[in-house]
Point group: none
Chain length 397, copies 2
């Protein structure tokens, strides 16, 4: 891709409705996307081309991190972003090169220090937040530590300082009846980070000693910014991220996107945000979160309503006259399942000058399964967008 890229003024929009793909509630019924009234999507479907993407590989349900890396053109099996980094991103913690992030669990230990509950009885969020605040007080002169609550018994921690390396073993023994493990360095370069995390854990144990349930912690998924190849270098694109949720801003930053801050959290606000910086960038990743949230809530109508909200705001985006527009999801989140799933993801590709239209007339899972683009790996979408933008040279003579 690096060798084939070519610059021109054409602009590409990748509009991602998180967890877009769905399932029917009853046999023969529509999916959320098919049930939604989407006149704008359907018009684009008539003029554009449909297909389905496979986020990772058939049958594999992706997390948000790998699903977005795939959409950005990175093979998620090759480019691995650590769990600690993604957990930190999810709560808005920054992880820069040289920082070490980890996922943390509160757990319950007995008087001998052995774990009796790996999730501290799944203590509720309201009980966990004040504990995390108390952990924030543990600091050392040489390193800076940020800790933030995630959900129930989970938190994220990021250590910043000089010469920190993330090659560290998990401290969660993954079973009860044994003590949490110390942070072990996997190589000598990681000794310093191991020492400080062990000190920090010791401090936490003191603070939590009198708690009934959350009287200890475990850490896992130690990782840092993996130094992914950057969007501008690979594709020759100057990319903007327009997203409400911190996780997606974080992943975008890893690939070199600039995160545009804006007011509001509705699709219309996001399209307005794109308009504000339309001249500054030539690639716009616009992320809609609530389709996924409603799917995870099991709220079929709610998910369909979020899709309709995107559709009804779409004219604001189309008014910007993108040269290439892809409307898709990062994965499926059927509201009948209430979780991410492995099902292929509907894709609508619109590029007025070069699209080969198919005979589909609405945007939905069945229409996409019949679309001319076929079913292909999500990581192949970026080359296709670049091609339609006229931004790729011919391969070979």
């Amino acid at each position: 891709m690096r060798d084939l890229k070519k610059k021109n003024p054409n602009k590409i929009v990748l509009l991602v409705m998180d967890g877009l793909g769905g399932l029917p509630r009853e046999p023969g019924g529509p999916t959320e996307l098919e049930a939604a009234n989407t006149p704008n999507f359907d018009r684009l479907a008539r003029h554009g081309s449909l297909g389905q993407t496979i986020p990772i590989s058939p049958g594999i349900t992706p997390g948000s991190g790998p699903a977005h890396l795939a959409l950005f053109g990175y093979d998620p099996l090759e480019y691995d972003v650590g769990r600690g980094v993604l957990e930190a991103f999810g709560v808005g913690l920054e992880v820069n090169k040289g920082d070490v992030a980890a996922r943390g669990n509160f757990c319950t230990i007995d008087k001998d220090g052995k774990i009796i509950d790996r999730r501290a009885g799944r203590i509720p969020t309201e009980d966990a937040i004040p504990l995390v605040d108390r952990l924030s007080a543990i600091q050392f002169p040489e390193v800076q530590i940020e800790v933030k609550h995630v959900k129930e018994y989970r938190f994220a921690v990021v250590m910043r300082g000089k010469k920190l390396e993330p090659a560290l073993e998990d401290t969660d023994p993954q079973s009860t009846g044994v003590a949490p493990l110390p942070v072990q360095p996997l190589n000598t370069n990681s000794q310093k980070a191991a020492d400080f995390f062990n000190k920090w854990i010791a401090g936490a144990r003191e603070i939590l000693a009198d708690e009934n349930r959350a009287n200890a912690i475990t850490l896992r998924g130690f990782s840092t910014d993996p130094g992914l190849p950057q969007f501008e270098e690979i594709y020759g694109l100057h990319p903007a991220c327009i997203a409400v949720y911190p996780m997606y801003r974080g992943v975008s930053k890893l690939v070199g996107m600039e995160v545009h801050q804006f007011e509001g959290d509705r699709p219309r606000d996001e399209f307005l945000a794109a308009a504000q910086v339309w001249e500054t960038y030539d690639f716009f990743f616009i992320h809609i979160k609530k389709t996924d949230s409603k799917g995870e809530d099991g709220d079929f109508e709610g998910k369909a309503a979020e899709i309709e909200a995107v559709d009804s705001a779409l004219p604001d985006l189309l008014a910007l006259q993108p040269d290439v527009l892809a409307i898709t999801g990062d994965h499926s989140t059927p509201s009948t399942m209430k979780v991410h799933s492995w099902h292929p993801v509907p894709l609508l590709l619109w590029a007025p000058k070069t699209i080969r239209p198919d005979d589909q007339s609405s945007f939905g899972e069945t229409a996409c399964a019949h679309g001319a683009l076929g079913t292909f790996a999500a990581s192949s979408l970026m080359p296709l967008l670049l091609a339609h933008a006229g931004r790729l040279e011919k391969f070979g003579a």
Copy 2:
């Protein structure tokens, strides 16, 4: 493939209409293939099975070399044929193992020897041909040099002799204001070829010294026959190439096809040529060039007419009773774009004994997108043809 091949008398025809895939001229309209009146293709489509092939990978526009290698079953990212070799093939120069081919440009240098125009003002073909003829006069006792004009400021050169190696740096500095670079060997084995190319360039500079525009040359893409695995060895097929244009004959020879010479240049002539040697071979690659040429001319009706000419001659080919017939292209060349493109390529597969028919009744892009073969890599076509010919053993027990 080598281990699974098995011999039998069944014959396979791969009929390639270059640049076959197209685009509609207006929204909702047909492509060139869909607009063409093709009763014979459509009859085969009813009895056969349709699909789409991706020449390289989604979004990637192939040159003719890699596109044909893919159709012949070679991963074009793994098997790279040099630019010099392909340029030489394009004008009918042979490149055998041990020869070194290069692409040449006329350029303009100032009195200090610095390039002021890398393309010699794009001198017209009629001015360039006599210059190339004069360059042909430069010869040395130890090596033989053939040079042939390509187009405007471009030519191809092939050096033949003992102990020549193509590991040579381009002499085109890719910018103006600097002198052409000398031919630098990348290893000691290439020293001899470097010396002779430098001598040849010096000779050319003398001959061109008084020219206004084309007063110097640059060479790039030094390469030789890459020694690809041979068709007979991989597939157990004795293959014939029936093609009018030298580029396709050249690429066929690289994979071990025998080029059958014949009179005429129309589809009917090519099918007659196949008939002449029908008993001698069991694989026939038949190449139709003009579909691509008309596409590159932006001539929608002309491309459709070329497709119709192939269709109307098809009964001559069918009379030979091939056991397996694939009708496809090497890539798309939409006449609306006037260049090669990345769009998937229509494929019609017909094998009376083993085909699983689909519900499509005409040969066109939308029908192929709905075909039972689905959308797959062009490099997977050969195994499919061998399978339908009964020429592959079962894999595993």
